[in-house]
């Protein structure tokens, strides 16, 4: 009888070596097959739409989602093609992206940075999303942009207006089509000077977070350059609902202009309170008291009702624009959903088309290739006139609209009227401008 040499230790050793041997080829094939995170291998490619589906900006999120679905339909050759027909780049053929059918998954940001990161992470890791886009808050945009940089996917920001998104928090994998607070200031200042003169005293109420701070800084700088004096800047908590105790001190402050650096529900409430306190009928320093809302949105204007009439602000895009691209977009969105798109819908539709187009031009889904195709890309036909995606900070430079709450609206959508289209040159700044300093774009990350 022969004695077996098999011992427990020996068996373990052998199995480890055998296991490693079996696993070895797959380790190498796994890393060599995927050159970048979530490289699409089948006949489809998945995009991740990360929008607020619950929380205070849910209506904006819903409008973004509608625009994304429309963009996917157009990319896959459905519908009337919308702005694909007016886009100056002809790379998109209506056969998906690089011949792959476009599919999408959605996540809910809840307008909270941690929830937004979690949903973006899940879409990247579980659903294999190759690109993340969306959002309706700068806090969320900055958080998700950072995550996408680490994960090695492209982030096409949605509605985010803080200077920081393409300033101190800019990332090589992140791109912003929407305008920013500096641009609002630069566009508004000349109009404000023309309307209200250069001898004014301004009082700022500011939402106490990244976007509010950068907007206040931008508007203070641009109005002080006109000769305006800033009487006071007061931060209000994001959770505030009744602004009466912040409005009351304005009455006796000697200020004759109130600047509301608020957005969403904050803007609706602070503006409503200001109007209730009779600020609009008030005379101070021999002048009519004026209110300015630097970042305007039609969805917010709807919430504030009658109170927006005659109040000036800036916006990224408005459905009443008469260029061919805007008309094409309003037509395909309006026919599908029965109402005109918001600026949030417009910016995310553009972002989806711009991403798809960059993939086509680069001939790859590799984030580094896509980023290179977007950097310095000049285009037209997406509703904002000639636009540049600047390579230095991944910020789009285009015309900015100064708008006013319409006195006699003809429909429930007709709330704002365009007062002036400020040319891109007037809102362009140097990449090292102090308001945008401190960040580093870094280099693109393809992950995998």
């Amino acid at each position: 009888m022969s004695k077996s040499n098999l011992t427990r230790r020996g068996l373990l050793k052998t199995s480890v070596v055998a296991g490693a041997g079996v696993a070895l080829p797959t380790i190498f094939t796994a890393s060599s097959a995927a050159a970048f995170t979530n490289e699409p291998t089948g006949g489809s490619v998945t995009l991740g739409f990360n929008v607020p589906q619950t929380g205070p900006y849910a209506d904006e999120g819903a409008d973004e989602l509608r625009a994304y679905e429309l963009a996917v339909e157009h990319l896959n050759g459905g519908g009337d093609g919308g702005m694909m027909n007016t886009f100056s780049s002809n790379a998109l053929q209506g056969n998906g992206i690089l011949g792959k059918k476009v599919e999408f998954v959605t996540g809910d940001t809840q307008t909270k940075s941690d929830a937004a990161r979690a949903s973006a992470k899940s879409m990247i890791e579980k659903d294999g999303a190759i690109m993340i886009t969306g959002g309706s808050s700068s806090g969320v945009a900055v958080a998700v942009q950072g995550l996408c940089q680490e994960a090695g996917v492209i982030f096409m920001a949605g509605l985010t207006h803080s200077n920081d998104t393409t300033g101190k928090d800019k990332k090589a994998n992140g791109f912003r089509h929407f305008f920013n607070a500096y641009m609002s200031g630069a566009a508004l200042a000349p109009v404000l000077e023309k309307l209200y003169g250069s001898d004014r005293k301004a009082y700022h109420l500011t939402a106490d977070y990244t976007w509010g701070w950068t907007q206040e800084e931008s508007i203070v700088a641009s109005t002080e350059a006109l000769g305006w004096e800033t009487v006071n800047t007061v931060k209000t908590p994001l959770a505030a609902t009744d602004f009466s105790s912040y409005i009351a001190p304005v009455l006796n402050s000697g200020a004759d202009v109130l600047v509301l650096n608020h957005y969403g529900g904050n803007m609706v409430n602070s503006l409503t309170n200001a109007v209730q306190f009779g600020l609009r009928e008030k005379q101070v320093n021999g002048k009519n008291f004026e209110i300015v809302v630097p970042l305007y949105s039609r969805l917010m204007a709807k919430g504030a009702g009658e109170n927006v009439k005659g109040i000036h602000g800036s916006t990224n895009w408005h459905w009443s624009l008469q260029d061919d691209a805007s008309k094409a977009f309003v037509k395909s969105f309006g026919e599908k959903y029965g109402f005109p798109p918001s600026q949030a819908a417009h910016t995310v539709y553009c972002q989806t088309l711009l991403y798809a187009d960059a993939c086509e031009r680069a001939g790859t889904f590799n984030p580094c290739g896509v980023a290179e195709a977007l950097e310095g890309f000049e285009f037209d036909g997406l509703g904002n006139g000639k636009t540049l995606y600047r390579a230095d900070d991944h910020q789009c430079f285009k015309d900015v609209l100064v708008v006013r709450g319409k006195e006699n609206p003809t429909s429930e959508f007709d709330l704002l009227e365009v007062v002036e289209v400020t040319p891109a040159a007037q809102v362009t700044y140097e990449p090292d401008h102090p308001m945008f300093a401190g960040g580093n774009l870094g280099s693109c990350n393809a992950g995998a």
Partner: protein
């Protein structure tokens, strides 16, 4: 001086809302012993009663106006409210304009009904459970109610203006001998204050001068003895829950023109109202009202720039600071009964 008067007015106004919600909370806690975290949701539903009535009154039919076009270039569909077609543009227009005050009548039966359903359907099953269970279930209920409202009305605030005659503001300063425009206060906020005072007065009168109220007060003091006397105290407490819901609802209806209602407005008030109840004294109705106004005024003063320049951020914490001081020095609250919350 004028700034101080303005902040007092502001504080009384805020305090009215706190007092109304805290009054309802105290009624429920005092009668049923339940800590009702869904009370803020009742306030919110009240505001949405105003929104709903204004939507009902503006229900419209469409006619096509061939002479005008919509945003897509198609003939414009013009909406005409049914009430304007039935009663003529003038009466119909007035009904629409006065939707918020009319909603007071509309909301009372709805809120009492919701109160009954909440109490009989859910909360009564938690009377004998620990307070932590009651808080969890009512908090959960509040979230459900919020989401239901959001499902039907969306997440954005819905403007619900006051009647035209009551919009605009009142120059309070001229009455007091100040310069014109020095102390301006919105009419509707004054209306809110007066309305709150009337509702609070009515609740106290009801409890003080009716037999029903007397039995309820007796039940609050000693439930068991009242029960032993053969009085169905539970049924009366259920009715009190309905009344407390109606008070919260009315506070919400009248608040709609001050800030456009949205689905989470109740939560914003709830936490503060609990602090008000604790400061006033758990179970003390006059305490809740007094603390409501007191904390409202304190919060307004703390928002003054002069005070914030000395202690930055004081406006955010003043209410909690007062609550801590009260709990440390007088745990039963300003007007709480001796022995409550004191060992």
């Amino acid at each position: 001086m004028d700034a101080i008067i303005l902040q007092i007015l502001n504080g009384l106004d805020k305090g009215s809302a706190y007092a109304l919600i805290a009054l309802g909370l105290t009624l429920i806690f005092g009668t049923l012993g339940v800590v009702n975290f869904a009370h803020g949701a009742l306030f919110m539903i009240g505001a949405f009663c105003a929104v709903t009535l204004s939507k009902i009154l503006t229900l419209s039919f469409e006619t096509v106006d061939e002479t005008r076009t919509d945003f897509l270039g198609n003939p414009l569909k013009v909406k005409t409210p049914y009430v304007e077609a039935w009663f003529g543009p003038e009466t119909g227009g007035m009904l629409i304009d006065w939707a918020v005050p009319l909603a007071i009548l509309f909301s009372i039966p709805i809120m009492i009904g919701i109160g009954f359903i909440m109490e009989r359907g859910l909360i009564k099953h938690f009377y004998k459970r620990p307070h932590a269970d009651q808080i969890l279930v009512t908090f959960g209920l509040a979230i459900v109610l919020q989401e239901v409202i959001k499902y039907f009305y969306g997440a954005n605030p819905i403007p619900t203006p006051a009647p035209d005659a009551l919009t605009g503001s009142f120059d309070f300063g001229v009455l007091l001998g100040f310069d014109p425009n020095a102390v301006i206060y919105p009419y509707w906020r004054l209306v809110y204050f007066v309305f709150a005072a009337i509702v609070i007065g009515a609740v106290f009168a009801f409890l003080q001068f009716t037999t029903f109220g007397m039995v309820v007060r007796a039940g609050m003091a000693d439930r068991e003895t009242v029960g032993l006397l053969g009085i169905n105290i539970d049924r009366r407490f259920t009715i009190m829950f309905g009344i407390a819901a109606a008070v919260a609802g009315l506070a919400g209806v009248m608040y709609a023109p001050i800030n456009s209602p949205n689905y989470h407005m109740g939560m914003d008030f709830l936490v503060l109202s609990f602090v008000v109840v604790v400061v006033g004294g758990m179970g003390s109705l006059p305490g809740a009202v007094l603390a409501g106004f007191l904390l409202g005024v304190l919060e307004s003063f703390a928002s003054m720039n002069e005070i914030k320049s000395i202690i930055p951020g004081i406006d955010q914490i003043i209410i909690y600071l007062v609550a801590i001081i009260i709990l440390l020095t007088r745990p039963r609250g300003l007007m709480g009964r001796k022995g409550v919350m004191e060992d």
